[in-house]
C-alpha cells in the first residue's frame, strides 16, 4: 500500500523578457509525472543533468512551487500544507542534499545543527534534547565529542552522515536524497551507502534516491524511474530496467556506463558509436507532435514505458536492438 502519491506534478518556470518583462515562454522542468511510494522501499530517479530530477525532489518536499498537480500524504492532500514550516508533512519527509558541506551552517556547532529539527517539531526539554542528539550521533557512528565541533572539522563522508542524522531527527517516513554520494570518494561512498541501508532497515524508511550514477542506483533501489526532459520515459523494477529496458533513452543511458574491466573496450566503443547513430536517428520518435515525451504504457505489472501505443513500442524496441546495449 502506498502512503504517498504524487499526481500529475508539473513545475514550469516562466522566461521573462521583451516588453515590460512579460512572460515570453515557459521552461517545462517537470511536466506531468506520477509517482507512488510504499513504506520501506527505495525509489531511484535517474536522468541526465537538467532533466528535472532535482526539481522533482525539491517540488515534493516544498522547496519549489509547483505549477499544478497534487501530493497526497496518507490520503490527505498536502499540496498547500507542505510549504508551511510546521506541518506534519515536513516532519515525516526529510531531505539530504548533494553538497554535504554547503548544507551545514558553518557557524553552528553540530549539536545546534541536529537540534534544529528537534526544536521545530518535537518540543523536548533541554536534557531530553541533548540525549536525543547523543542518540543520533550514535546511530550515524560519530563520537559524542562531535557535538561541540563545527562542520569544517569533519571529512566529506562524516558531514554527509551528519546530514543523514539531521534528516533522521524527527523520525521521518521518507527521505529524499538528492545525489547524496556523488561528491564522495569511492570508499567513503560505500560507507555512506551501507549506512543508508542500515538506517532504512532499522526505521523502515522510504528513500527517493536521485542520482545519475547508474551503478549506485542499481545497488540501492527497488523501483527506478528514468527521467528525460521533465517526463518519465521508463519505470520499472531493477530487473526490468537493467535486464529488459525498452525505451531507447534508457538503453543509451545503460550503454554509456563505463564497464569495470578494460577487456573488450574497443568493441564496446564501437558498439557505443553505432548505438549513438541509431539513437540520433530514432530519438524523435520518442516525442509526440507537441515535443512532449509520450505517456507511460504498461508492459508488465511493474514495468511501464513511454510510447505512443503498445504496437509502436515494440517497433522502437526492435530497431534499437541492433544498437547492442549491454
Amino acid at each position: 500500500m502506498s502512503f504517498m502519491q504524487v499526481i500529475d506534478l508539473k513545475v514550469h518556470y516562466p522566461i521573462r523578457g521583451g516588453f515590460f518583462n512579460t512572460i515570453v515562454d515557459w521552461v517545462y522542468a517537470v511536466d506531468g509525472i506520477d509517482m507512488e511510494f510504499e513504506q520501506g522501499k527505495t525509489y531511484g530517479l535517474v536522468g541526465e543533468s537538467g532533466c528535472g530530477k532535482s526539481t522533482t525532489g525539491k517540488a515534493i518536499i516544498g522547496l519549489e512551487k509547483i505549477t499544478s498537480g497534487k501530493i497526497l500524504f496518507e490520503g490527505e492532500d498536502v499540496t498547500r500544507e507542505r510549504r508551511s514550516r510546521t506541518s506534519r508533512f515536513h516532519r515525516e519527509v526529510q531531505m539530504i542534499f548533494q553538497d554535504s558541506h554547503s548544507s551545514l551552517n558553518p557557524r553552528k556547532r553540530i549539536a545546534d545543527i541536529l537540534a534544529e529539527p528537534i526544536r521545530n517539531f518535537l518540543h523536548l526539554t533541554p536534557r531530553e534534547e541533548s540525549r536525543k542528539i547523543g542518540e543520533l550521533l550514535e546511530i550515524v557512528g560519530l563520537p559524542q565529542d562531535a557535538k561541540e565541533k563545527y562542520p569544517h572539522e569533519f571529512s566529506g563522508g562524516q558531514k554527509q552522515r551528519i546530514n543523514i542524522a539531521r534528516a533522521l531527527a524527527t523520525h521521518p517516513k521518507m527521505i529524499i536524497a538528492d545525489e547524496p554520494v556523488s561528491a564522495l570518494d569511492l570508499s567513503v561512498q560505500a560507507q555512506v551507502l551501507n549506512f543508508m541501508k542500515d538506517v532504512q532497515r532499522e526505521f523502515g524508511l522510504t528513500y527517493l534516491f536521485i542520482s545519475h550514477d547508474l551503478g549506485v542506483v542499481k545497488h540501492m533501489c527497488d523501483t527506478i524511474f528514468i527521467m528525460y526532459k521533465g517526463r518519465f520515459v521508463e519505470r520499472g523494477t531493477k530487473e526490468d530496467i537493467y535486464g529488459n529496458s525498452k525505451h531507447l533513452y534508457t538503453k543509451r543511458l545503460l550503454s554509456s556506463i563505463p564497464a569495470t574491466t578494460p577487456v573488450g573496450r574497443e568493441k564496446r566503443k564501437r558498439a557505443r558509436k553505432e548505438f549513438e547513430k541509431v539513437y540520433e536517428k530514432m530519438i524523435h520518435k520518442a516525442f509526440d507532435q507537441n515535443g512532449r515525451v509520450y505517456d507511460l504504457i504498461p508492459v508488465s505489472d511493474t514495468h511501464y514505458v513511454s510510447a505512443p501505443s503498445a504496437r509502436e513500442l515494440l517497433e522502437i524496441g526492435k530497431e534499437s536492438e541492433m544498437g547492442g546495449s549491454r
Binding site: 541526465e48 570508499s187 549506512f195 551503478g215 578494460p262 557505443r272 558509436k273
Partner: protein, 386 residues
C-alpha cells in the same frame, strides 16, 4: 577632457581583462619556437632516459606550507610518460594527484609551495625554468584540462576569443587564419554550430559543451602532453562517454601523451594504457591497465576494487575501507602508509622502509604487504557503525 575620461575608462577595462588574462594564461598555451632545439638527446651523465619517454619525473616532492613548515603532499614520486600513451593516475581526494599534475605545468606559487625533484621534458628540467620560459611551454607543449569548465573559462569573453587568445599569443597566424583555426577546432571537438558557438559566452553553453571548449583550447597549439584533471567528473554518464571518446580520438590523431587524473575506475578501464594508483602522496602500484584490473596486488587497490558498486553483483553490502586518509600534517612518514587501514595484517608483514618492487614485467608494487594481505570477513558490517 572627454578624451581623457575615455582613456581612463579603457585603461580600467583593459586592466580587468589583464587580470583575467593572467588567470587564464595559467591554464593556457604558449607556442615555443625553440622546440626544434629540443630533439630527444639524452642528458649526459644523468642516467638514461627511455627513448620514447615524453616526460620523466624523478623524486618529485610537492610541499605545502602550513604554519611555516612544509608538508609534502606528493612525496617522492617518479614515473615516465611515453609518446602516444594515456597514463591514468587514480586515488582518493587528498592523495596528491592534482598537486602532482599542477606541479608539472607549474601552477604552484613559489612562496607557499615547495617543489623539489626533477621534471624532465625533453632535456629540460621544468622546475629550473623561469616564468618566461615556462610560459612558452605551458599551453603550447603541455596543456591542461580542468575539472570545472565553468570556472576555468573567462565569463566575460566570448568562446571564440578565448580560444583565439592562445593562438594569438604563440603563433604567427593572421587574424583570419586564427579565426579559421578556431572554427576548425570547434568542429573537431564536435560542437554542432561552430560559428554560433564562437560568439556565445560560457554561461550559454551546457556542461558538456563547455568541456568540449576546454578541450579545444587545450589542443589548439597541438601540445605534446595533455593533463586532464578529472575531465568528466562534473558531467553525467552519456556526456562522459562522448567526452572520453573524443579525448581518445584526438590523442590517436595527434599522438600526444595524456595524463588522466580521476577517481573513477570505470573511466580508467575505458581509457588508460597504464595506471598509477596513489595513496597519501606516494605511488603504491603501477601497471598496464589489463594487469591492474585482472591482478591488482596492493591491498589498497584491491580494497578499492572491492568497494565499487558492481553492475552485475548481487551483494547486499558494499565493502568499506576502514579508517580515513590521515591529514597532511599527521601523515606517518615512515613505514607502509597504508598499514593502519589494514590493522588485521601484522606489523611484520610490512617493510620498514617500503620500496617499489617489480613483481612482473611493468607491474610495480610498493611494500611487500600485498603478499600477506587477505580480505577480512565481515569487516564491512560494522565499519560505518564504529
Amino acid at each position: 577632457m572627454l578624451l581623457n575620461l575615455c582613456i581612463v575608462a579603457i585603461k580600467m577595462i583593459y586592466k580587468d581583462f589583464g587580470n583575467y588574462g593572467a588567470n587564464i594564461m595559467k591554464l593556457m598555451f604558449f607556442l615555443s619556437d625553440t622546440y626544434t632545439s629540443l630533439k630527444a638527446d639524452c642528458r649526459k651523465g644523468e642516467g638514461f632516459l627511455e627513448k620514447d619517454a615524453l616526460l620523466t619525473v624523478r623524486g618529485l616532492h610537492v610541499g605545502f606550507r602550513i604554519n611555516d613548515r612544509f608538508y609534502d603532499a606528493v612525496d617522492g614520486v617518479s614515473f615516465t610518460l611515453k609518446h602516444n600513451e594515456i597514463l591514468a593516475i587514480v586515488g582518493e581526494s587528498g592523495c596528491g594527484k592534482s598537486s602532482l599534475a599542477t606541479s608539472i605545468i607549474g601552477l604552484h606559487h613559489d612562496r607557499n609551495v615547495r617543489v623539489t625533484g626533477e621534471i624532465l621534458f625533453g632535456e629540460r628540467n621544468l622546475l629550473e625554468l623561469d616564468d618566461e620560459e615556462m610560459n612558452k611551454i605551458r599551453g603550447a607543449e603541455i596543456a591542461m584540462i580542468f575539472q570545472d569548465p565553468l570556472s576555468a573559462l573567462n565569463p566575460l569573453m566570448r568562446i571564440g576569443d578565448q580560444i583565439e587568445e592562445a593562438l594569438a599569443y604563440h603563433t604567427d597566424y593572421t587574424r583570419e587564419e586564427r579565426e579559421e583555426q578556431v572554427m576548425r577546432l570547434l568542429k573537431q571537438v564536435g560542437i554542432p554550430k561552430p560559428e554560433q558557438t564562437a560568439r556565445q559566452f560560457p554561461h550559454q553553453l551546457s556542461g558538456g559543451m563547455r568541456q568540449r571548449v576546454m578541450i579545444a583550447m587545450a589542443i589548439s597549439c597541438k601540445p605534446k602532453i595533455i593533463i586532464a584533471d578529472e575531465p568528466t567528473t562534473a558531467l553525467d554518464v552519456t556526456i562522459q562517454a562522448q567526452i572520453l571518446d573524443l579525448l581518445k580520438e584526438l590523442q590517436e590523431e595527434t599522438g600526444a601523451g595524456i595524463i588522466l587524473i580521476t577517481h573513477d575506475l570505470g573511466v580508467v578501464a575505458e581509457m588508460a594504457d597504464r595506471v598509477m594508483v596513489m595513496y597519501a602522496g606516494e605511488i603504491i602500484e603501477e601497471a598496464p591497465v589489463q594487469k591492474l584490473f585482472m591482478h591488482p596486488k596492493h591491498p589498497y587497490t584491491r580494497l578499492l576494487f572491492h568497494s565499487m558498486p558492481q553492475l552485475h553483483s548481487k551483494d547486499e553490502r558494499l565493502h568499506v575501507i576502514e579508517g580515513t586518509v590521515p591529514s597532511l600534517a599527521n601523515l606517518p612518514r615512515t613505514g607502509c602508509r597504508f598499514s593502519h587501514r589494514i590493522p588485521w595484517i601484522p606489523k611484520e608483514a610490512h617493510e620498514k622502509h617500503p620500496s617499489f618492487h617489480e613483481i612482473s614485467k611493468d607491474h610495480y608494487v610498493q611494500c611487500i604487504c600485498w603478499k600477506h594481505f587477505y580480505f577480512r570477513k565481515g569487516a564491512s558490517n560494522n565499519a560505518a557503525r564504529r
